[in-house]
């Protein structure tokens, strides 16, 4: 089976790649394009470490075929900071010590950004349920939730 030629946009840049049908978007990001910021924790959509947005919708890259990226717009963790300016969420995660090992962090940040893009003033409960698909085994979630709420407050204020 010949590979598919896919033309897509990743973090605002035009990107072309070849992939087989079996390869997921996560496989393509990590193994073909070397965008290894999206992590594979489960390959079944249960951990959220590979969270990216696809045409603005939060998805698990492990549950999208690479070939489905054709003509779509993908945002990954690598596109979150603008130049040397961190996104407020990135900055707040650092300030709140909202990461320990850091493997889940890219997924949490992408997911949290998708939340704040839609809901600039979420409650703690809304944050917790929105992020329920992102597993963190280190922090107990406390500092992550605080960081998201604080980033939201900051972004509303600015």
């Amino acid at each position: 089976m010949a590979k598919h030629h896919v033309t897509t946009t990743i973090n605002g840049d035009p990107v072309e790649f070849l992939c087989s049908t079996e390869q997921t978007l996560l496989d393509v990001l990590r193994d073909v394009l070397y965008l290894t910021g999206s992590k594979e924790g489960c390959a079944s959509g249960d951990c959220g470490a590979c969270s990216v947005t696809l045409d603005g919708r939060l998805v698990c890259a492990c549950l999208v075929l690479g070939v489905e990226a054709q003509g779509r717009r993908i945002e990954t963790i690598e596109g979150m900071a603008k130049g040397d300016v961190l996104h407020p969420l990135q900055q707040k995660f650092l300030e709140h010590a909202a990461l320990q090992c850091g493997i889940c962090t890219p997924g949490f940040l992408v997911a949290a950004k998708a939340l704040l893009d839609r809901n600039p003033d979420p409650t703690e409960t809304e944050v917790r349920y929105w992020l329920a698909g992102n597993l963190c085994r280190c922090t107990g979630y406390d500092k992550i939730v605080r960081a998201v709420l604080d980033a939201a407050a900051d972004m509303r204020g600015s």
């Binding site: 049908t21 079944s44 959509g45 698990c60 549950l63 070939v67 054709q70 998708a114």
Partner: protein, 288 residues
């Protein structure tokens, strides 16, 4: 394994029919990709239905709502009119997986994956939803409860697929609700799911009811006895108790890694009572 993304219903029907069962439909992919990854399925062809306009989006007409079978749950959840008309259906489909899963999962996939535990299905059945089915012989409309015939099995013929879901206009003074039991608050498969839809007359007496159970039998169950326990009552404590008994009695569950027979039977009754209470409140709220 090849991948095709047809742009029309006919093209999709032809591809599926020509594959002789060797093709697998891709909608949201949240079940299929896991099955591909684990080797549970190994189709020769994957047919992505998302490029077909008839499978996308939500519209309403005199009959009610039409939801394209490949519309993502996230999109459906954002449709205010649908949420106001059928809050139980919407809360059910919003329970399918995480935010990430919501961005991809579809009603068509949730139904045709044919899991006894699919969250949207009991709510759709309770709401009296039907499927528009396309296939080599043309299109037909089928009640949702007739699609799934067993775990992983549907009544769809080779080349057929679900185009859209039809939800009727809700009757006056009606309400629906869906509740499920999972061990955590999110990310689990339902151990028991219960959808209830009911309508009241002006005096507050229940005139219509449909009660559907999930994860307690090889397919979702539409439980006539449970509905009968409500119809003609004011959905008071006695009726709710009878509903719980009827719901529990209808269960034919198995012991598995997600729950025991005894647990599912008991909790089906509890959730039926609680879901009916919410549906009642919603129906009463519409009274004014």
């Amino acid at each position: 394994m090849d991948y095709r993304s047809p742009g029309t219903v006919k093209e999709a029907v032809d591809l599926l029919a020509a594959s002789g069962g060797g093709a697998h439909i891709l909608a949201g992919g949240t079940d299929l990709l896991v099955k591909l990854r684990t080797g549970f399925v190994a189709p020769k062809l994957v047919v992505d239905l998302k490029a077909i306009p008839q499978l996308r989006g939500i519209s309403s007409d005199a009959r009610g709502f039409r939801i394209g079978a490949a519309t993502s749950c996230a999109e459906i959840g954002e449709h205010a009119a649908l949420g106001a008309a059928w809050p139980g259906v919407v809360e059910a489909l919003r329970l399918i997986g995480s935010t990430q899963i919501q961005g991809r999962a579809t009603l068509g996939g949730n139904l045709c994956n044919a899991s006894p535990a699919a969250d949207s299905v009991p709510a759709l059945i309770a709401a009296g939803a039907a499927c528009e089915v396309a296939g080599p012989a043309g299109e037909r409309e089928v009640p949702v409860e007739r699609i799934v015939t067993g775990p992983g099995r549907t009544s769809l013929a080779n080349g057929e697929f679900v185009l859209a879901f039809r939800l009727p206009k809700p009757p006056a003074r009606s309400g629906d609700a869906y509740l499920r039991l999972i061990p955590r608050t999110e990310m689990d498969i339902a151990v028991v799911g219960v959808g209830v839809a009911l309508a009241l007359d002006q005096a507050g007496v229940c005139t219509q009811a449909r009660v559907a159970l999930g994860a307690v039998a090889p397919t979702q169950l539409l439980v006539a006895d449970a509905a009968a326990a409500l119809i003609g009552t004011r959905v008071d404590a006695k009726a709710l108790a009878a509903l719980a008994v009827a719901a529990s009695a209808a269960c034919k569950p198995i012991d598995d890694k997600r729950g025991t027979i005894a647990y599912r039977v008991k909790v089906a009754g509890v959730l039926a009572r609680r879901a009916a209470t919410i549906a009642l409140e919603r129906a009463q709220a519409k009274r004014g």
